[in-house]
């Protein structure tokens, strides 16, 4: 959504110019909000109206503005943003503007510049020469960079609910509790993913180790095989458990395929050691050490794997980025173009991803802990669904649905 503010002055009531302008805004598929209106008291007095006009695209808005100008609408010039320079590397100037994850525009030199990428809890650095603006974190800023301060000249455009198509993200936007039915939602989600795939959307999964531990790894493999996963975000332990499951049939010593079997606690360390010895996941697949499982399916189906580390990690497994700042950078870059993200059974990783997501990404969070779902979902208030459930039945049902012959291509 983009918007401009217009002003109308004159005998806009008697001449019916005000209703004409409002009608034109609506008939062009745009919306308006009247900010201020003053009606002349005497017959010869002029009236005044300030109206915020918003349209889907800047092209549509420009075309509408051209029409409205013919009827006397004056487009209000916004003030430029205020800038201050970063005093030292890694430090923003005082009163720096803190971003939301919504689409944000800054006005500079009379132009509106979109802040790319839109990123939560960042500052905005402006490049005068390139006429570009980007959201920056502390580590991104160097002494002398021009940073936006105050609130002047900034326009934030919240994500609008779709008016052209109805999908589950439009209607639900809520959390489905443990005791509520989920099958219909999972089927709808399957449809949504199918549409996303047809529309060349990018689907990512943020996978927690509970996927393997609950025995849902095979369902995730089916999703990957059906082409519903473009990118996989995971940590060291997910890979360790998946490899352990593949090599030893256990995950953290438990066999998810057998009832009440325990044992082999050291298996996950042996699994890590095997991958380290092989030289990483790709090498392990190449050497036929890994012949099934989620990581194997990812390699086989060209899924982009993004692995980041944590304090408690063993290993690490080669390919896991352990430098936190570096990991943040990589994740931001890899999250930028996603249309759909499923946060599956991982609290910390889900929260990290949710805080970096663009507001346009449609998000599903599945966790057995209601507070984990709630915290992840609050970052995406308009386009997210939370399901409080064990991840295994969720993935099983979703994989069953998208694997149905009619959905296969």
């Amino acid at each position: 959504m983009v918007s401009e503010t217009i002003e109308l002055r004159g005998h806009i009531i008697d001449s019916l110019i005000l209703p004409k302008v409002l009608d034109q805004i609506l008939t062009h598929g745009a919306n308006f909000k009247i900010g201020e209106i003053k009606i002349g008291e005497r017959r010869a007095d002029q009236s005044f109206a300030r109206i915020e006009v918003s349209a889907e695209t800047s092209e549509a808005l420009d075309e509408l503005m051209l029409r409205l100008r013919q009827h006397g609408a004056e487009v209000i010039e916004r003030a430029n943003v205020q800038l201050a320079t970063a005093p030292v590397d890694g430090v923003f100037p005082g009163d720096f503007y803190v971003t939301t994850n919504q689409q944000t525009f800054v006005r500079f030199g009379g132009k509106e510049i979109e802040v790319r990428p839109a990123m939560l809890n960042s500052a905005i650095a402006l490049d005068r020469k390139k006429e570009s603006a980007r959201a920056v974190k502390f580590f991104d800023v160097t002494k002398g960079d021009e940073i936006v301060v105050g609130h002047q000249g900034i326009r934030v455009v919240p994500v609008q609910r779709s008016t052209t198509r109805t999908d589950i993200f439009q209607f639900i936007n809520t959390i489905v509790d443990a005791d509520e039915p989920k099958s219909a939602i999972v089927r709808e989600l399957g449809e949504e993913l199918r549409r996303a795939r047809t529309a060349k959307g990018e689907i990512a999964i943020v996978a927690g180790p509970a996927i393997v531990r609950t025995g849902a790894a095979d369902h995730l493999v089916r999703l990957i095989e059906a082409g519903y996963v473009d990118r996989l975000f995971a940590g060291n332990s997910f890979v360790a458990y998946d490899v352990e499951h593949t090599l030893f049939g256990t995950s953290l010593g438990m066999n998810p395929d057998l009832a009440f079997t325990r044992g082999g606690h050291e298996n996950h360390l042996r699994a890590i050691n095997t991958i380290r010895e092989a030289g990483g996941i790709f090498a392990a697949v190449r050497k036929k050490i890994l012949t099934r499982g989620v990581m194997y399916a990812c390699v086989l189906h060209d899924v982009d794997i993004v692995l980041t580390g944590a304090i408690r990690d063993e290993g690490p497994i080669p390919g896991v980025t352990t430098d936190i700042i570096e990991a943040q950078k990589i994740m931001r870059q890899k999250l930028a173009d996603l249309s759909h993200v499923m946060l599956l059974a991982t609290v910390q990783h889900s929260l990290a991803v949710a805080s970096m997501l663009a507001p346009t990404a449609k998000t599903v969070c599945v966790d057995i802990d209601p507070s984990a779902v709630e915290r992840a979902i609050e970052h995406q208030p308009l386009q997210s669904i939370g399901l409080v459930t064990d991840v295994e039945p969720f993935l099983r049902e979703l994989a069953d649905y998208v694997s149905e012959p009619r959905l296969r291509e």
Partner: protein, 268 residues
């Protein structure tokens, strides 16, 4: 006694095309144009009007249409800012002429197009102003600022009726005759709300420029070719004087376009 400004058609001709009526291949006959203009001049003079003449200028064929010189209210003269460069040269001659007669010249901002009485006609206490083809609506607010009166802005939508005075003619009793299809829906509604009685002119008679009439109290000077309108006006107690205007209609003008009131209103 009403004072009027006319301009002899010595340099009149179809030398360019800036409205759908103009066609350089179908030029005006100079002698016939002179004859028709003289008939108009004589008729207006006979209606107890004082007719002033401005010297025509070579290279400005449309200067004959003095209604587009500007708008005169009391001793104030607001010169036009012509949209087309072909006519822009007329402005200094009219402004100078008015200045010499001690009119207070009120200039509009240069970036606002306004084509004078052609797009600004008083009806009751309101100044009706046409916009889009020639005048900008922004000029209407400037007029209201200068004159302190209610301005009803109406959008013109038929390019054949590109000035307000080609499709709307207010009468002294608060009524008016008009060609409704020349306006958009909002313009039609605005006019209906502010004019007590409206006489619709048929499309056929409107194309004879019937609305382009000079009204002097109960006398109406209009182009010939509108028998139904004339009958209606006569029933309402007006005397109609029909004149041949063929050579000026070729340029998209007739009786009213050839006449500027000095002033159109004594006060607002």
């Amino acid at each position: 006694m009403r004072e009027l400004l006319l301009c002899p058609p010595d340099y009149y001709g179809i030398e360019y095309e800036i409205n759908p009526w103009m066609n350089r291949a179908r030029g005006a006959e100079a002698a016939l144009a002179q004859k028709q203009w003289k008939q108009l001049h004589a008729r207006l003079s006979n209606l107890d009007c004082e007719v002033h003449l401005i010297s025509p200028q070579p290279g400005l064929p449309d200067m004959v249409f003095t209604a587009n010189a500007g708008l005169t209210v009391g001793r104030k003269f607001i010169p036009s800012n012509f949209r087309h460069k072909e006519r822009a040269g007329e402005q200094p001659f009219f402004a100078k002429w008015m200045e010499q007669r001690r009119y207070e010249v009120n200039w509009l901002p240069e970036n606002l197009y306004f084509e004078g009485e052609g797009d600004a006609l008083f009806g009751g206490d309101a100044l009706f102003c046409g916009y889009k083809f020639r005048s900008d609506i922004q000029s209407h607010r400037a007029l209201s600022d200068i004159l302190g009166c209610l301005v009803i802005s109406v959008e013109l939508v038929d390019p054949r009726f590109y000035h307000l005075d080609t499709c709307f003619c207010p009468l002294p009793d608060g009524m008016a005759f008009w060609f409704p299809s020349a306006f958009d829906d909002y313009g039609q509604r605005a006019i209906r709300e502010h004019v007590s009685g409206l006489i619709d002119v048929s499309p056929e008679e409107a194309t004879h420029f019937s609305c382009n009439a000079v009204v002097i109290e109960r006398d109406i000077v209009l182009p010939e070719g509108a028998p139904r309108l004339v009958a209606t006006l006569q029933e309402s107690g007006y005397r109609c004087h029909e004149l041949p205007m063929s050579e000026f209609i070729k340029a998209g003008g007739a009786c009213k376009c050839l006449t500027l009131f000095m002033p159109q209103r004594e006060s607002v």
